[in-house]
Amino acid sequence: MKRRTVLTLLSTAATSPLTLGSPLRALAQATAARTLTYGQSGAVNSLDPAQGAFTTYPAGYEVAYCLYDRLVDFDENLKFVPQLAEAWEVAPDLKSIRFRLRKNVRFHDGTPFNAQAVKFNVERLVDKARNPTNRPLWDPVAGTDVVDEHTVVIRTKAPFSQLLNSLAHGSGSLVSPAAVEKHTEKGIAQNPVGAGPYRLESFTPGQEVVLRAADGYWGGKPATDRLVFKYILEASTRIAALRTGSVDVIDSVPVQLVAGLRKEANIEVVVRPSLRPMGLAINLSRPPYDDPRVRRALNHAIPVDTIAERVFFGFAKASDAPLAFDTQGYQKQRPYEYSVAKAKALLGEVGFQPGASGQLERDGKPLKMTLLASDGLFPGDVSIAEIAQRAFQQIGIDVTISKIERGSYWDALRQERAALAFDLAVFGFNPSNASGLYHLESLFKSNADDAARPTVWNMGRYRNPKVDELLAQANSNPDPAKQLAAMGEAQRIVWEDAPYVWLHVNQNVTAFRKGVKGVELWPIVFTIPRRARVEA
């Protein structure tokens, strides 16, 4: 094979010295094709599905999907496909699932994958002490029964229609029990051993992960020998790296650069709508934002279509439901029309009138607002906050922006009620287990205790028993049509109650070198190179 290539090369060189360059390059690429480098916008610090999960998000998850297999996998469109479970059977009461496991599968350390391994992993994930993160995904699980070497039943405490979502989610990654014992509970984060298409070659936390194709992978050896994940924070540096060829794939391309990149001969751009609706979460625990009319007024005040078209160059679409357009269960609602007059009228109804300075007042008190903004956590987050500030100022509200650095933002959002330091906060929820119901529950289900930290992401303390009931129905009704109906009705009520100022759904942009094939861009912001290959 190699000799043939050289011969071809020589004959080409002999016939036409001018074209010598390109076959040489092809040869170079054929060798380089064995390695594919992905320039990630996030750093990978740990690779354990438990013990705090793959940090940081989403970079760690992207590596995990190459390194680990799970019982159930997602395809590119987030449909369930068998992975280490060949088949499964959901109990009619939605309280358990019986899995038939794939046979002759081994973890990268050579130990066999079997029912005991599944039990070990599920128990590890359910154990709060070992797995403090992703609790809503694992709290509903009651236990695992080993039926035989290749059959296992996972039970839940109550009917739970999202168990497959949890298992397909990145945190459902199956770790070699022997490796956990060898490297200890803590050590596995730096020495991960899974059963996925790639095994770990080297790991420099915060900088680089190198994976090597696993021999004997049940799905066949991957086309690319080595996968290198490199952390490159700045978008401009990622793009420069792609252009100079030091990386083959990059994620999070800023939308303003897409037009330019598309014109470049060596670069291909993939754009896909995300499942993450951006919005401003409203803190309902303080007046006047406890009044739905005030919240609707805010929704009328922002030119969402203009933002999507101009600020995001059309790579975003104004929201018309609490869920994103492509999320399972999404149901379109009537958009809040952009109208300063309507917004002012609604606020007038509540008793806010312009004071001497043009500022809205009620009983002599001016209407003020603190808007919390992240910095670089969501596309254009600071810009979004600045636009909203201006828009609200235009209807007479005095807005202060409070910017929080990346790492501390989640914590600033999830405070006890008394410590909440915002009226509105920039937020977008990414349903990383692909469940629309999980999305609605996380954001709009009543908290266990409104005074304490929010149970999941209902930091605004939204509370509507009707919505709670509908969500419970969707979780326990085995009929998918009924599930969808309940979710649709819940969305209608939430949209009316307006606990958010809904903005838009972004599109994700990933770019790669021409000739790279098979990079998956999932709608849940993950770029996954597990099936990627380079064709010269």
Partner: protein
């Protein structure tokens, strides 16, 4: 104060209060401040810098793993400073009031006013984005060292050049030089023989005085060029509110500061025999 502690951050996006409390107990964050502090100090003595949430354990080995990149960058910056600043200052002094002198003054004033991160960005635009000559991120071979070094060293080059010029002018005005010149020795020979040694002193002085800049500047430059050094890690740590890591790196920087100053003092004595007697 910004709210939240390491446990809340570590527990992650979907943790409940009881999860956080659990984690807090495990990290020892629920114990009295004094006790926590004492534990930490005792740890420092053993090389255990405490619990870093980024690395889920003692951050020291991870920080040390990043040290070589920072050292390479600093060594390169110092080398470039000597290679550019020293000759530039000497040429300007020899050609006092000639065009090289004016050009240098202009450059010095410019380089001292331009922020290093902006210089770096402009270099990226000129050499990487527009022409694709140089890699603009990370450590991917020696070519990737060029731009970060230039951005970091610019200020030092300017300072060394200016100081060298000043000292050289003083030296050149001294009697022995005048005599030598009058005797017809070539100016170059004079410079080489008598003045070089004296001109080295300002270089060392500047580097000693600018140690703080060198260390601080490396943070910005590493950040800009995604240079995998300690400074880049520090900004990550600030963003993640990993105070253990911030503290560890700060201690390391202080140690570096003291070490460089010690080296400078030693160099002084080596270069300047008069100090040896004193």
């Amino acid at each position: 104060m910004v709210p939240g502690d390491e446990a809340t951050l570590m527990a992650g996006a979907t943790a409940s209060q009881s999860d956080i409390d659990l984690l807090r107990t495990r990290l020892g964050l629920d114990r009295p401040m004094v006790e926590q502090y004492a534990t930490r100090l005792a740890g420092l003595a053993r090389g255990d810098f405490g619990y870093s949430s980024t690395f889920r354990g003692n951050p020291l080995p991870h920080v040390l793993a990043r040290l070589p990149a920072t050292l390479v960058l600093m060594a390169a910056a110092i080398t470039l400073t000597v290679l550019l600043g020293l000759p530039a200052g000497m040429v300007a002094a020899v050609r006092h009031n000639g065009w090289p002198d004016y050009l240098l003054s202009l450059l010095v004033v410019g380089l001292l006013a331009i922020p290093n991160f902006w210089l770096g960005l402009m270099l990226i635009v000129a050499l990487s984005v527009e022409r694709g000559w140089l890699p603009s991120f990370g450590f991917t071979g020696w070519a990737s060292l060029v731009m970060p070094t230039l951005a970091l060293a610019a200020r030092l080059v300017a300072l060394v050049a200016r100081m060298t010029r000043g000292v050289m002018l003083d030296e050149l005005a001294k009697d022995y030089v005048r005599t030598a010149r009058a005797k017809g020795l070539a100016a170059r020979a004079v410079v080489g023989r008598h003045v070089l040694r004296n001109a080295l002193i300002p270089t060392v002085t500047v580097i000693g005085l600018q140690t703080g800049y060198l260390l601080g500047g490396s943070v910005v430059v590493e950040r800009l060029f995604a240079w995998p050094g300690v400074g880049d890690l520090m900004i990550n740590a600030v963003g993640a509110r990993d105070y253990t890591l911030v503290q560890t790196i700060t201690i390391l920087f202080v140690a570096g500061f003291l070490l460089i100053n010690l080296l400078v003092d030693v160099l002084y004595v080596l270069i300047n025999p008069r100090l040896r007697r004193a």
